[in-house]
Every structure is written in C-alpha cells, then in structure tokens.
C-alpha cells in the first residue's frame, strides 16, 4: 500500500524537478558488447548456483578417479570422463567447479550486498547528518578498518566457528567498513556541490536529498567499487582457506580449490588453473558490466572532447 503512494510521489517529483536546470543528468543504460558478454557470464554462473549440482557429472565429494592430478579429458574406467582432469584427492574438477558456484558466487553476493546495505547507509548518513553521528560512526569504523581484514576474519571465525552464515557476516562487517569510508567521502564531496546546495536552499528534507541527489550521484563510483568489493570477498574467503579456515570440507569453493591444488602446478597439472579461471571469469564479467555503467554516465561528455 505504502509503495503505491510512494511511487506516486516519486512520479510527481520527477515531473516537477526534471525541468530544473540543476537536476542531475539522466542516465539510460545501454551495454556495449563487453558489457553484454559480462551479463552472459554472470547469468551463466547464477544459473549454476541454482542447477550446478544437477548438471555436474559427479558429486563434489566423490573420490573416484584412478589417480590425483589426472590431465584434461582423462577417463576413469567405469566412472566416466574428467573433462578438466582430477584434483589432488582424485575428485573430478569440473564437478567441483559447478558445485562450487553455489558457495563462491552465493556467499560473495550475499556478503557484498549486506556489506553495502550497512556501509552505504552508515556512510551517507554520516556525510549528510554530520555532527556526533558522523563522529561515533567514524570512530567505530576506523577501529575496524585499521585492523587487517585477514586478522579480523581469523579472530571472528576462530572464535565463533566456521559456518556459512558466520563467513557471510564476517565478510560483510569487514567490507562494510571500507564501503562506509568511500560512501562517506563521496557523500561529503557531493554535499558541497552546487545542485545539492541549491536543493538545500529550496528547503528539501534530508532524505529527499539523499535519495534524489546524493545516492544517484554516488551510485556510479559505488557501483564500480561494488565490482571490486565482490572480487575482494571472493578472495577474502579464499585467503581464509589459506589459513586453514573457510568453507567446511568436502564442500567446494573456488578459492580453496586453487589453494589445495597449488602443488599440482609444480609438475604441470592444470588443477589449480581451472578454479582460478572460474573466479576470474565471474569477477571480470561483473566488472565489465560495472564499467559499462560508469562509461555510460561519464563517458558521453568526455567523448565529446576527444
């Protein structure tokens, strides 16, 4: 119910203020071919999050192959074909990558979204409200941010145990603090810009300014950061596995798969390369989309100048 009234107001706002000379430029997203490629790849992995376990040839925990570090397209008699070969524990790599999408992509998305929800809210609030709210939020944030992520992760995960909700929560808290600083810095920059000042002069409420002025203008750099942050969460979880924490075995996540199979690289096995490629394909795709968004909004003008 409230939604409809809200959107009515929004429409009204739009019609009124779109004509104002200080309104932010309109943005319409049109993807380039790289952006479209990004969408395809991300869509593929999102689908795998849902159906991965059913399309995978083996179970992620099956220890069935003839040998560890078998090559690409090798066959185990009576079991089947290992398209990407096998890992250090004689498990099928392709199957583990498909299963792992659930852990890696799922956890990264949830944690990053949560981090953004917390970080952006707090950061923009601090920038807009200022005063003691800014003070308290910034001090708590500084304390968290000043400690290395891996150490915070170590402390929280060792103290509370390594389960999926705890991993998501840990990553979210850690990255919310970096989001906070960036969101706050952008918020402050924008707050002193002309159009915000004139909005304030018009007597707009603080929340109107946040939703209509600050967020749309900070959205683009924050979206760029979102892409990177997503990458960092994936890498953060894998760095926890570097310390022997992280996802519980035998569940597969891509970061730990890279880590556990590194020895294979010493004699030419591609076992760690496949999950690394899976991580890279996903994170690059996300960032290609993000880049299109930023190139679109800032690019038109810049292009005019060339």
């Amino acid at each position: 119910m409230s939604d409809t009234t809200q959107s009515k107001d929004d429409d009204q706002d739009k019609t009124i203020y779109d004509e104002l000379p200080d309104a932010p430029p309109k943005k319409k997203l049109k993807l380039t071919w790289t952006g479209k490629l990004g969408v395809v790849i991300v869509a593929f992995w999102v689908i795998m999050v849902v159906i991965g376990p059913w399309v995978a040839p083996f179970d992620e925990a099956d220890i069935i192959a003839d040998d560890s570090y078998m090559g690409v397209m090798s066959v185990t008699e009576g079991e089947g074909l290992h398209v990407f070969g096998t890992d250090y524990l004689e498990r099928d790599i392709l199957s583990r990558i498909l299963w792992g999408a659930r852990m890696t992509v799922g956890i990264a998305f949830l944690a990053t979204l949560l981090a953004y929800a917390m970080g952006v809210t707090a950061g923009i609030a601090a920038a807009v409200k200022g005063g003691w709210i800014d003070m308290v939020l910034s001090r708590v944030n500084d304390a968290i941010l000043s400690l290395p992520t891996i150490m915070l992760g170590l402390l929280i995960v060792v103290a509370l145990g390594s389960s999926i909700p705890i991993l998501i929560g840990t990553a979210a808290i850690i990255y919310a603090s970096s989001v906070f600083r960036i969101a706050r810095a952008y918020g402050q920059e924008i707050m002193v810009m002309d159009y915000v000042e004139s909005a304030q002069a018009r007597g707009e409420t603080i929340w109107w300014i946040i939703f209509r002025e600050v967020l749309p203008n900070a959205a683009m750099p924050l979206a760029t950061d979102f892409g990177l942050r997503l990458v960092f969460v994936v890498l953060f979880i894998s760095s926890l596995s570097f310390l022997g924490l992280g996802i519980q075995p035998p569940a597969a996540d891509w970061g730990s798969m890279v880590r556990q199979n590194l020895e294979g690289m010493q004699y030419g096995s591609l076992a760690p390369v496949w999950p690394a490629l899976a991580i890279a394909s996903f994170t690059i795709a996300i960032n290609l989309i993000v880049d299109d968004i930023s190139a679109k909004s800032g690019g038109d003008l810049a292009k005019k100048m060339i």
């Binding site: 220890i63 022997g244 294979g264």
Partner: protein, 548 residues
Amino acid sequence: MTESKENLPTINSLSGADREVIETGLRRGANRREVMSWLIAAGASIAGAGAIVTSATEVLAQTPKKGGKITFASDLHGPSDTLDPALNTSTIDYSRGRAYYNSLCQINDDLSTRPELAEEYSANADNSEWTFKLRKGVKFHDGSPLTADDVIYSMSRHYGEKSTSTAKPLVADVKEWKKVDQFTIKAIMMGPNADLPVILGTPQFKIIKDGTTEFQTANGTGPFRLTEFKPGQRSIGMRNEDYWREGANAEILEITAITDKVARTSAFLSGDIDLMQGLDPKAIKSVESTPGVGVWSVPAGGYFGICAMTNSSPGNNPDFVRALQYIQRREKIVKSILKGQGTVGNDHPINISYGADHCSELEQRVHDLDKAKFYLKKSGITQAEVNVAEVAPGMTDIVLLAQREAQKIGLDLQIKKVPNDGYWGAVWMKTPVNVVTWNMRPTANVMINLAFAPDAPWNDTLWKSERLGKLLVESRAATDPAKRHEMYCEMQRLISVGTDDMPPSGMVIPAHRNYVDGKSDKIEGIGRMPLGSLGGYEWPEFAWRTDV
C-alpha cells in the same frame, strides 16, 4: 651385512680412473640409478653395479668434507620458538637443540644408544638404578667445563610443580638424580626401566649450564655456537672449534622455517634451501622429476588416528567404533593420500618399525563394508560428527575418504574442520570424535605408556584398561624375548580388538606415516633414525656438503 657382499665387486676393485669418474659423479649429485646405468653400460652386472655404487657411496660417506653453509627450512616457527630444551615442541626447536646442545646418550638409527656426554652408562641387575659417567674436558660455549651439577640441574627442570617441561611424564619414574662425584650421576628409579638411556636421547633432555634461566642464547656444549637467534625468523650457528669430538662439518648452519608448504617446496626445488622438513606427499612427483634434489623418506611408527572418546556417545558404543574401523580404506590411504610414503595401520600404535615388539600375528583389519554395515546396524547410530584439524599432512583427506565410505553404509559422518591453533587445548580429548597424530617414540613401551596407559595424561580416548596398565609395568621388567613379545601382542590386541569384557580403545589408526623430507643431492651425512624428521633431528652435527 657385509658377509653377503664379499663376493661382489666394490669401488676398490675398479681402476683409478673409473673410480674417479664414479666418485665425482656421486659427489656432483648423480643419483644411484644414473651411476648404475654407466656401470651396466660398461658391462657390469646389475648386482655388481649396485654393490659398486653402494660401496662408493659408503666410501664417500666416510670422508665428509669440511666447510660451507647448510640451510635447513622447517615447517613451523613463530614467536614461541625457544632455545630452552625442556620447552621444545617442534622440529625447528629439536633441530636447533641438536646443533647447540648435547644429550647424555645418543640414539642410533636402529634405536639402540651410544655414548654422548656420558662416556659410559650402565644399570644395575634389575634396571632400577642407572649410573652415568661424564666425559671429561667438555666445555660449554662460554668456556666453563661440564660437570655433574649441570646434568643434575638440566634434569631437575623436568620435575616439580613449577616445571613446564613437555617431557615430564617420560622421566616421571626416576625417583632421584644423585650426584656421586664431579663426573658421575646416578638415576634412582621407582621400578625397573631398561629404556632410560634412549629416553634421555630424546630432544627435551639436552644438557644446559647449571643455573640457566634465560634462553635468549644457547650456552650448550654442542657442535655449533649460536651467533644469531630471531624467533620466527631464523638462527645462525658457526662451527664450534672447541668441540669435544670430531665436530660439525659445515662452517655455517642456518635454521629457518617456511610455513607455507608450497613455498617451502618451491624454495627447495630452486635450491634456495638444502634441506626441507615435511615434504607434502602431493609434491613427491615434482621433487623426483627435478635434478639435484631428492626425497628423504624414513619409514616410522608415527600415526594418524581418529579418536572416538569412550566417555561419551558415540565412542562409548564399541560397535560404532568397529564400524568406523571397517570403513577405512587403508591401502587406498597409503597409495592415494600418502603416495606410498606410509604403511597401513591396524588400529594400534605399534607397527613394524618397533621391530620385535610389533605383533605380526594379529590379523590385519581390511576394508569390509558388509561387516561395517553389520556393526553400524548393531550400534543403532546413524549420525556422528568428527572434529578435524590438519594435525599432519593428509589427516583431513583421510577423514574425507572415511566420510564417503560412511555414506555407503548409511552413516552420516559430518566433518567439522577446525583450525590447528587451539586444537590441542580446546578440541582434542574434549569433543566426542576428533583426530590425533603421534610421532614415533623410542620404544613400544613409551608409546603405549604415553597414549594408552589408564593413567596417561594423553590417553586420547580416555580408555581405561587396567589389564593394559599391568602389562605395561610387567613388560618393562621382562627379560625373556618370547614372553615380552607375548605381552606386547596382548596389549596391541586389547587396543585394537578388545576382549569380551573390555571394549577396544576407540582409536581408529588407518595408517602410519613415514618421515618424508627433502634433501639436496649436495648434502650427505643425513641419518635414518626414525624418531623425527631427517633422521630424527640428528643431522646438524653430521651433515656435510659435497660441493665445497
């Protein structure tokens, strides 16, 4: 040993030029196979070539070269690195201990002992009193002479309420250390114990200067003098020119650690370090295919164990334990996880490495899902959780393998991976099902006494068998080999199978692991004593470079 070789050629039967070729080849790091192929190509029989290479290696081994620097990288170090022998717990500490200190007795590769600082030691008729005569003229690094007071002080650190020694239980049966004169010490035992000399050869019983309380440096009698010690980084030692015997071969000894096993292997493969501890079985193939480096593998009695605590469910149900024992794919573990560097276990700690005390009559338990299913059904248990830390390389994988087998018999075996730090204090012996690893101990008696005796502080599963306790004490005094073997056999059967009125210990021991380390072909003089890495940490004094 030498008898069988008498009719075969040796290195000495070759012409001077041929001999030169082979010796140089071996010194440069050609491996045995390569040299043999030269000899066979030149017309020698396989047996003959083998004998020549063996004798050539022995000749080389007898003439160590002096000089150069040896760099050793262990697997673990940190701020807790210590030069206090009584507090030693890790390979890096043990190896340093061997470089800067000495023991009373030294352990041979076959686990017998030879004199070290005690030039003579003997027991009375029933092994209840041991006398140690100290070598004269031995000097600590600060120049002061070694006397009985130093030994008494060193031993006193393993007793009393204030002692933080990690080896306290090993010498708990010595009632008193008594100074007889300036160079003679007596150990008065509570009961007979023939194993005292070999226990005193283990790392914690190194001799330090009387009254030492600070361990920022190492004032010992050992073959190296400490010149730099940075906990968690490295230590450097220089050869001790005033050493009381032949002494170290290397001029400089650097002991460090590279915690990450992949990085450690890379550093070893690229020649940055000469010796590495803890070669991951996964990396064996790459070491073998790299020229100039080799695998140093010593079969031993150390083991992986899954502990089902007998004081709580499900471990208090012997049928559950039996099911867990029958799902173990022991051969597969040795082949796939340990890459052949280990031996199958029979759910008790005493494997073939303990020689005569190993019970070969006891039937080897094999993978049998039907039996496992039968016992699981009888136990009525369908779900259990194992707390796993990677206490030794391969531990997690062993439990993962068990998990898949458990699924086949309808047991939902969940794995809870926990970090290594804090594991021994918070998880081991505290959660219903957990894992353990033990290094080999000098004797079967010490091993069983530490981990299975009813009053042992480290009884993994809190399994209390009074019969076992009785056998342990009696076997120490047993002099008849057949009788002794029978007693040890009964102990192993108790632990593994149990009896009608005594359930098995709750320990599942699927495999024993070799010590698998890496050794550059340029380093010789590494022994095969099976109580620790690289020949039981004995190498610092004897290792030498072939390329100096």
